[in-house]
Structure formats: C-alpha cells, structure tokens
Assembly symmetry: none
Homo-oligomer: 206 residues x 4
C-alpha cells in the first residue's frame, strides 16, 4: 500500500532530523549535560515524540553515534571505487579519510576526547556496534592490501597487522589535527602516511 510507504518515509525523515540535531548537541556537551528537552526543542518535536523514535536518551545517543560512524566509514570506502591500482586506491583512501576528519571533527572528537559515557547496558551494545564498524573497515583495507601482496609489491606480512597499521597512521594525523587544528588541512599529511606505510610494507628487493 502506497500510504504505508509514505508513512514510513516520513517516519524515517523525522528520525533522521532528530539524529542530525542531536549530533550537533552531543558534539558540544557531554552526554549528561544534554537534556532531552533540548533535543526536542532543537528538532522541533515534543519531548514525547522523541520516545516514538527512540526508546530513551541512551538509545538516541548510541544510534546517532553508530549510524554516523557507519556512514563515514562506508563513504570512505566508496571513494576508492574509481581508483585504479593499489597505490592509487590507498592514496584515495587516506585522502578521503582525512577529508572526513576535516569535515566532521566535532563529531569525531566525541571519540578522541573521551566525551563518551559508560551507558550502563547500552554501552556494551554501542561498543559492539562500533567495533563491528571498525572491523568491517579493516577488512576492506585488508582486501586492498591482499591484491598488492599477490602481485609481489608488498611483503608477505600479516594482513591484519598491515591494515591496522595504515589505519593507525591515518589516525595519528587525524588526532593531531583535531586536537591542534591548523589552517593546513590534515590532508597535507597524506604524502607522509603513504610514504612511510609503503616503505614499511613494500618489497624492497624487487
């Protein structure tokens, strides 16, 4: 039935709107300093309506965090689709990642500055969801690197260690920029990261 479809679309649109406003608010204060009334007000809904979309404040928070992180990771991965060749792909991956950092530093600071709370039971679930997002991303990088290993470009090192090493080198640049933002974009570190990583893992004998 078309009417049910429209309802669902509207429901999702409203839900997204709340999530969007909530992101801004949670980015600015700690969990405990954010009031439900504030989110309700900012998103143009009544307090009661918030509870039609989320089971409570913790659910609203954890949903926002995990969906947003999922989105960012998946966009980063999507960016590599047009690249040709391993090195080009890695370069694109690093660049896209740093660009998202630059554009979403308010949100990502939630993770860096520890502006999270232990959300009793929800925390376990959130932690699991974040870990899943991360693992999915690491696996994607592993698959990129696997190609390079097969062609002999890369040394025969543990895939996961390599993939996480790249991720943490990107993280280094991300965190530095987020904590000490400079006029220069974090993307300027792309070259260094690619250089040190490739030299670190490539086959120098060839």
């Amino acid at each position: 039935m078309i009417r049910a479809e429209r309802k669902e679309r509207e429901f999702n649109a409203r839900r997204a709107e709340i999530l969007e406003k909530a992101e801004k608010i949670f980015a600015a204060k700690s969990f405990h300093d954010v009031k439900m009334a504030e989110i309700a007000n900012a998103s143009g809904f009544s307090i009661g309506s918030l509870y039609q979309f989320f089971t409570g404040k913790e659910d609203l928070y954890t949903t926002m965090v995990s969906e947003k992180l999922d989105f960012i990771f998946s966009e980063i991965r999507k960016s590599t689709e047009t690249a040709k060749g391993l090195i080009d792909m890695l370069e694109t991956l690093i660049d896209a990642h740093l660009q998202f950092v630059e554009n979403n530093s308010d949100f990502l600071l939630l993770f860096i500055k520890g502006e999270k709370v232990t959300l009793s039971e929800s925390m376990t679930e959130l932690h699991q969801r974040l870990t899943d997002s991360y693992q999915k991303h690491i696996t994607f990088i592993e698959n990129l690197l696997k190609g390079g290993m097969e062609t002999g470009l890369l040394r025969n090192l543990p895939l996961r260690d390599m993939a996480e090493s790249l991720f943490y080198l990107i993280r280094m640049a991300s965190v530095r920029w987020m904590l000490m933002p400079t006029k220069e974009s974090p993307r300027s570190k792309k070259g260094f990261i690619l250089d040190i990583f490739l030299n670190g893992v490539k086959n120098h004998d060839k």
Copy 2:
C-alpha cells in the same frame, strides 16, 4: 622541623593509598557509577577526609588518571636508559610500552573504551595534563630518532611525524590486545612494529 616532614610523609602516603584504591574502582565502573562513599570505604578513610586530600571527586579522578599515566610514560622512558644504539633503544621502548599495556590494561581501558566523562571544567585541565604527558613522551622519542637521522640511518623526515607514527603503531598493537586479549602477550608484536617502522623511515639508499 622534623615533625613537619613526618607529617608530610604521612600525608603523601595516605593520598597515595586513596589514589591506589580509586584506580581499581574507576577501572571497574564509569565515573558516574563510582560513589565517594565507596572510595572512602575502600581506602579506610571517612568521606570528609577525602576532601582534605582532593578538592572533590573530579579532582580525585583527574589526579589519579594523570599521575598514573605520567608514571607509566616515565617508566617506559626509563627502561631505555640501559640500551645501546638506536635500534636497541627503539626495541626496548616498544617492548616496555607493550609490557605496561599488558600489566595495566584495566587502567588503560579507561582511555580506549571511552569510559571517561566530560568533566565540565576539570576536563579541560585533565585534557591539558594528559596532552602534556603525551607531548613529553613524543619529544623523548623525537630525540631518540634525531640521533638516527644524524647518523644517516633514518631518512630526513619530520621528526614529530616519525615519533608519533611509532607511537601509533605501538598503540595499534596495544588497543588490539586490550580489546581482544589473547594468551599471547602484546609484546609478540614488537618485531612487526619495529620492522614496519624502520623500513618505513630508514634510508634504503645506504
């Protein structure tokens, strides 16, 4: 006056005792789930007495966190004193770091799992203290690497980037082990880290 000295010694001993018990408690629960009464009880002091040593709960928490982290970093640095040569020093540094991770995972999980809170005003101060600890450590690593650069062993790359890269590679192994502890010590990753880092930064032309 000798009496004043003894008093100060006793004061410091009691303060340290509180901090030690607090560490265990904060490691097990979130900041908001820890009650002052619990810390008072565990450390054998009255609630009121806690306020003779710390100005409040946040002060107690931030003091504990920053002093402990300071201690760990400084112990790691101290471990390199007996090593000879850059590579030996780096190897020792990595090994000592991973060993501290292995022995203090409860405490360090406070940082990894985001089980921190935004402590309104204190947060700024804590964040500053943690950043200072970190910078001091990074500077120490920079100085190690500077030697290698001067001898031509290492390429002419930005010192800070190199130092932080090493730190983040160690962090990669630390976090992985803390979130998914295995029987195998995190120290088993020492070789990989040293390998990829040195290959990444060394002068291959020589």
Copy 3:
C-alpha cells in the same frame, strides 16, 4: 425511527463490551497500572473510540464499578422473590450474596483489598453512587425485617442497625473467603450467619 433505535442498541452493546473487558483488566491491576491503550486493544476499539463512550479513564472506571455493583445487589435482591416467609427470605438473601461473592471475587477484591484510588473529583461521585447502591440494598433488607418485627418474631430494635448488622455478618464471611479462599464455598457460612443473626435479634420471650 427504527434506524435510530438500532444505532442505540449497537451503541449500548459496544459500551457493554468495553465495560466487560475493562472489568477483567481493572480486576488484575491497580487503576494507575491500567492503560487506556490496553482497554482499547482488549475490546477491539481504537483509543479514540473509547472517548465516544466515556469521558475519560476515570469515568470508564467509575461507571464499570458502580454498574457492576448495582447489578450484583439487584440480582441478590431478585433472588428473594420466590422465597416464602421471613426466615426463608433471609436464608435466600444470605445464600445469594455469598454465591455472588464466590463468583465475582476478582471484581469484589477491588473493594476489599483497597485496590482503588482516590479519583480526585470522580471519587466523590463514585463514592456517592456506591453509597446509593448500598443504601438501596440496606433499605431492602430493612423492609424484609420490618415484616418480622410486625409479627413479633423480631425484637423491637432499630431497623437500620439490624439490617446493617446482617449485611456486615455476610461481609465478614465474604471477606474471609476472598482473602483466604478455601475449597469450601463461602455459602457454607450461611447457617452460622443466620443462626447468630436470628438469635441476636429475635424475640426470645415468645
């Protein structure tokens, strides 16, 4: 117009259906634990429709309680219609009352266990309606007893005191059974009640 009649019949049938389901629900939980949505669901109506039959939750509750109590009292009285003679009538009255207790204990426990609430304004109205039901019933018993007094069988005692005494002796057996239900029917107390009441009020000189 016949159509208006049918409409009214249907209206009353629906209303009765809601009342019937509500009785079961209110019998199982306290007023505040019963949700309008639950009643709507159980009776197959939408929430909004409930408000076509009752002005609100309190009205629904008070209507249910008073109509049901009215019905029970009137059925008890009706049962005496076929009895001949005072003693037979009293015996029938007691028996019918205890039988209704046995068959409606869930509902009647609302009164006994105090599982009622003070319904702000409605309470006054409900209380009045319940009192009216009770007074009507007591008056009926008074009229039975008046006959016995006129024939000299009963002593010349205040009618109301006598009537209420009988009612409270029945209540004693009712409450005991409802709070501590036994396999034995509460009707087994009929003999005792009749005995003690008649001995209490009859004319022993005759």
Copy 4:
C-alpha cells in the same frame, strides 16, 4: 555506649515526627497527590533526609499505615486489662474500639474509602502486615470468648466465626459513623452491638 543510645533515641524521635506529619497529609489526599517535598516541608526535614529514615515514598506510606494500625489495635486490647468478667471485657473492648474510631477517623478513612493505592511490590507486604495486625487482634478476641464458652455462658460455636462477627459488628458502627458522622458519638452503638452479639452467641437454655 551512652552516645550511641542517645543517637538512636534521636533517630527514632525524628522518624516518629515524620510519620506523624505524613499521617495527616496522607489522610487528606491520595497517595499520588502527596509529594515528598510536602512531607519534608511539613516535618521540617530536607527531602534527602527523608531517605535516611525510609527507603522511599512507598516505604514511608506503608510504614505509617501499618505502625499506626498496630498501635490502635494494641491500645484497644490494652484497655480490657482492667475489666473483670467476660461481659465487662467485651463492653470495654467495643467501647475502646469505637472511641479510637471517633478519634482517628481521618486515618481510618484511608481504609474505608479505599484511599489506598496498589503499591506494586510494597502493596503485598503492606497487605500482609495489615493482615497480621488483624489476625492478632482476632486471636485476642477469640481468647476472651473462649473463657465464656468454657463457663457455659456462650454456645459452642466456632471461636473464629464468633470473634470476627463481633469485629464486623463493631466495624458496621464504625463505618457508618465515619461515612456519616453525627454529633452523637459512635460509642452510643455500644449497647446495641453488645446486645445483638451476646443474644446471638449466648446459651439461651441456661
């Protein structure tokens, strides 16, 4: 230690003071209409202090109700101590009961008018405590009557039935007076109750 004793005395005095004020307040409104802040205010304590004496609102309410009822029943029983002979004792018992009704009608209306709430879990406990108080009282009456049965004054009827019959006859007069207070004291019904009860249960053959 004398200091501990004084502390306990003071604790109990404060607790009693809260209970006393709470009784007046709960007598005037329904459970849900009474605010903790109101009780705190009326008793001269801070809100937080209330929670040092009681675990919560329900505990405060149930404690007040059950302790007060216990007190009233035990005072009624105590009044019979000076009476000589069964009939004198029963007369004293009835009189004392009705006098307490007259003096505590606000409190006792809590039971009559159903101004109670279903206090989730606490309700079960409260109900049990009230039942225990009641049973204790009925047992006391049974023991009085047992003497009369042994001397042959009373007929050989079930003790519990007799005892509860007397209690419900007193209740009849109590409820009537509480719902329709007259200038005349409920104690004026003492004669009628004693008359009808004794005639009902005594041995007329003797």
